[in-house]
Assembly symmetry: C2
Homo-oligomer: 295 residues x 2
């Protein structure tokens, strides 16, 4: 990660801390559980995409922070629920005990519910830093995000992923799952930045293509790392997808073809970003960073 990533990352963290500090009425254990997973060392990829995308259409970075933080809250909720015993039953995440291992299953379920709801609260509140977003923009944003992360998007992807465990599938099924489970939220983060930055229809459709491409690349690389990475570096047991007989890009396409597809997606993202009129430097850097993770 370069210094720009670090700078944005720490600004997003400051925003997340501000959000938690303003909620003094959350019961202690629940708050600890919500904060534990939120500050567990995530890459802040989705918040960065929101901010980078706002800048790429000439928007103001600061007005994107609350929404950027909201995406991290939503992402964190999906991780907590996905790790639950009834779902992937994972004990480690980024080298640390998963939320339910640390706080118990009931609190983990509620922490996820609380984070998801908090995200919508944050997006719908008056912007705290004077960087006002108009109500019609807020509502458009919120609707776009709710659609992306709900039963037709992220939640639906996880459902089909659960239904498919231990069964063989094809590339079409895999794409169906990932488009929803990972892709929908990443694409929504990119579009959200565009909406905040006041993007027109043409820019929004470029951002949509960029978002779909990096989302696709991200998932392929994640699957590749599960085969080639080591447990220490991943913070979770390498090969866990294979142990669980999950469909992955390498298992369906082979490792080389998967790497090639990831490269193609990164190239498409970069080309699309360069067509934007504003400063698309960060969008380009993020796309390249996603591609480089696999080496």
């Amino acid at each position: 990660m370069n210094s720009l990533f670090k700078e944005i990352g720490s600004e997003v963290d400051a925003e997340l801390h501000r959000i938690f500090k303003a909620r003094s009425d959350i019961p202690k254990k629940l708050l600890e559980s919500m904060a534990y997973s939120t500050f567990a060392g995530g890459k802040r990829l989705r918040p960065m995409l929101v901010i980078a995308s706002a800048e790429s259409v000439g928007g103001d970075r600061k007005s994107a922070y609350p929404t950027a933080a909201a995406f991290e809250l939503i992402h964190t909720y999906t991780l907590i629920h996905d790790d639950l015993p009834a779902m992937d039953d994972d004990e480690l995440r980024r080298g640390m005990p998963t939320n339910h291992k640390k706080f118990g299953e009931a609190t983990a379920i509620l922490a996820g519910d609380g984070l998801l709801t908090l995200a919508f609260e944050v997006i719908s509140e008056p912007q705290p830093n004077g960087h006002h977003i108009k109500p019609e923009t807020q509502i458009k944003l919120l609707n776009r995000i709710a659609k992306a992360v709900g039963a037709e998007g992220t939640v639906g992807g996880q459902e089909v992923d659960m239904e498919c465990e231990d069964s063989s599938g094809d590339i079409k099924k895999l794409e169906y799952i990932h488009t929803r489970k990972t892709g929908a939220m990443i694409t929504a983060a990119v579009e959200a930045g565009g909406i905040i930055g006041g993007a027109g229809d043409e820019e929004l459709s470029l951002l949509n293509i960029y978002g779909q491409s990096v989302g696709h690349a991200f998932q392929i690389v994640d699957d590749i790392l599960d085969v080639t990475g080591n447990t220490e570096k991943l913070g979770k047991p390498a090969g866990s997808d294979e142990d669980r007989k999950k469909m992955t890009y390498p298992s369906l396409l082979g490792l080389e073809k998967s790497k090639k597809l990831a490269d193609e997606m990164v190239d498409r993202a970069v080309e699309t970003a360069l067509k934007l009129k504003g400063d698309s430097k960060i969008l380009v850097t993020i796309a390249k960073f996603i591609g480089e993770r696999k080496h």
Copy 2:
């Protein structure tokens, strides 16, 4: 229930059907699971409160339907998650198998997540029936609701309720739990109707008192019914709170004092409703209905 309740109930159900029909991209089993609990014979109390409250300040009933339906989606999500094995571990709800008993735990968790997210999607979308709500009203509504049902409200109440099982407590603790777990959403439903109907500050503060009163009465009556009701009528095992050593109003105050407190709350709700300038007939009927359930 009188005929007015039936009429509103079937209009709310029609709105809920419209919402599900418009989401053709929800995976089949997930959709079935979400719809199963949504149409499991709930009383539609929260939607009725939204609608009654909108009318009590002179608002248009139809413009309240999407938000009314959204409250039922949120309420249904809390029931599904509360019934999970890690929470109350209930097998029956309204005489039918609970969601996780019927669809499995993973799908039940996801159905809850999907319903919560769908509620925010519904409130933030352009109103379908031409009964437009202004974006600034939509965003105010949404923020009020998110705050009420999140970690400082419903979710936080459930957390503290979980932490308190099998432990003795006092009336202060019980009020803390119920103000959040049940009260926050009921009060928010009443205020939401007011916001939609264009209530001023004074009306909103009357609606807040009404909401708190009926919320309080509702919970006391629920606790009383758990002691005095029979399993068939309740659709869940009577005495289950006692079996679980849960704090309840009857266990802390005794049955007679609990009934008296419920009556006081109903009276306060009715008096407050009558101070509103619009048609508060339905608000009064709902408060009385809540009080009568205990006989």
